[in-house]
């Protein structure tokens, strides 16, 4: 896979770089305005921290893509690991769950990404939802602690599905054997890039629209920062962005718009669901790994729901 020979991919990367530079400039302007007392210090600081994190994330992502499939698979495997680590932190596990968790982290997680590496689609799809689903309660039974048994088992299964299974759909895009009428050499890499860009931009745009126009609370109990204006504005502008970027993908304009809309909606659902889990556990952010963003799971929650939907859309409609 020679990524640099694919002009459309290079163009996509340049667009993302331009967006980041724009973000940095806006951050600087906000910083100056804050020092003049025209806007809140915390807003400017938070914005700048977010942009810095984005630079980091884009750099890591770019390096992963450049090293070919293995780099991306490793990147998402590490992301899964960190996300699961945060998820396990907020759910109350008991002493008897220890060995089960050891299996989840050190055996099932690598196995899932190994299936992607060798391109074993059948096992990739079934490993977590079927085999791990059966394995987790079995291993918990062997530990012999019946207290809150179903609850504990279900929570571990939830963590596995969200943090490993759903996220692993993103690198699996690289293994899709599509029959697109497309001239580029790295069409799969562009599919992945498109997904990540739309999901993350949808998040960012929802945040921005919410900050600028937000008045009516959307889900006050789940996530007090979400507003109707932010949601509608963010999803619509992400859809428009997807339409505009569809030139760089094998999709037609209408396909690009439709897929982006679904991806943005699924992303929102993921974000809201993870927020609900956090509220339930009395935590605001999953971790402090990425400055301004909370933890790894706070950043991947949208991708978690969007990646499987996107993958199966493409597989259903574009793979013969």
């Amino acid at each position: 896979m020679n990524l640099l020979h694919d002009r459309k991919l290079v163009a996509l990367v340049l667009i993302v770089l331009a967006l980041l530079i724009l973000g940095t400039i806006v951050g600087r302007v906000l910083g100056i305005r804050a020092s003049q007392g025209k806007c809140q210090d915390s807003l400017a600081a938070n914005f700048q921290a977010r942009v810095r994190s984005w630079w980091m994330m884009v750099a890591v992502f770019a390096v992963a893509m450049l090293t070919g499939g293995i780099g991306s698979i490793l990147l998402f495997a590490i992301s899964s690991f960190l996300a699961l680590r945060e998820f396990i932190c907020i759910i109350p596990t008991r002493r008897a769950d220890h060995r089960t968790l050891v299996w989840c982290f050190w055996v099932l997680l690598p196995l899932q990404y190994w299936c992607i590496y060798i391109g074993w689609y059948g096992m990739f799809v079934l490993l977590i939802p079927l085999y791990a689903f059966l394995f987790v309660p079995m291993r918990n039974v062997l530990a012999g602690d019946c207290e809150h048994f179903l609850e504990r088992t279900a929570k571990i299964q939830w963590g596995m599905t969200c943090c490993i299974y759903c996220i692993s759909y993103a690198p699996m895009l690289l293994k899709l054997d599509c029959n697109f009428d497309d001239d580029g050499s790295a069409v799969n890499a562009r599919l992945l890039f498109f997904l990540v860009t739309i999901v993350e931009m949808s998040d960012v745009l929802q945040y921005c629209w919410g900050k600028i126009l937000g008045k009516h609370k959307l889900l006050p109990k789940v996530s007090p920062n979400k507003t109707v204006e932010g949601f509608v504005g963010g999803v619509l502008s992400a859809t428009v962005l997807g339409g505009a970027l569809s030139y760089f993908t094998p999709f037609t304009l209408w396909q690009g718009l439709g897929i982006s809309l679904l991806v943005a909606l699924a992303g929102f659902a993921g974000d809201a669901t993870m927020s609900a889990i956090k509220r339930d556990s009395g935590v605001k952010d999953y971790g402090t790994m990425l400055a301004g963003h909370g933890g790894m799971l706070d950043r991947l929650d949208s991708l978690c729901f969007a990646a499987p939907v996107y993958f199966h859309l493409i597989r259903y409609f574009f793979v013969s």
Binding site: R85, E86, C104, G287
Partner: protein, 212 residues
Amino acid sequence: MQVIHTFVERLLVGLTRIFTGILVYGNPPAVPKARIYFANHTSHLDLMVILGVFPQCLRDRLHPVAARDYWENGWLRRYLARRVLHCVFLDRHNASQAVQTFQNLAELLGQGESILIFPEGTRGDGGQIGRFHAGLFHLMRQVPNVPLVPIYLDGLARTLPKGEFLPAPNMSKICLGEELHWQEGEAKEDFLERCRASLLCLKEQANGLSVK
């Protein structure tokens, strides 16, 4: 050889970082100075987490107090305790030996080294903080001017509980409290209770910090 010992130490600290995303509350000390650190004990990772938040110049001069019967048992433990972690062995079952150890510790403190002690004397299950043993009191009586620093560790009993070999990754917290000082004429029970209370206070803060 020292290069290898340092490498092993950094490897262990680095692996611990991977197993437990460490959230730090409070300020880790920056300048080497004679101090007695004391912490609640739930896991083998405890020491690695504490080393992980200390700068290298402090790590080299920190001497954890380790149970002789456990850490002298087997070549790997002995190697780690002696060469890598600069432990001082304490005999849990021989009072006269222990008295000698406390004198050695006081000497180390006099040379500007630091001591880390787990006053519960063994690893707990991560729930309650156990009763403190008197060693801390006997040590403090000999070095009344050395400040005490409480450290509360949270979540590590879930990462690597007692009796387990492989860790289940998890996010943990380390909270460093304000320095405590020896108060002249304080009774043993009162002193130990005051130290334990400072850990309980940090524990409450740690639990409160994640709930917003």
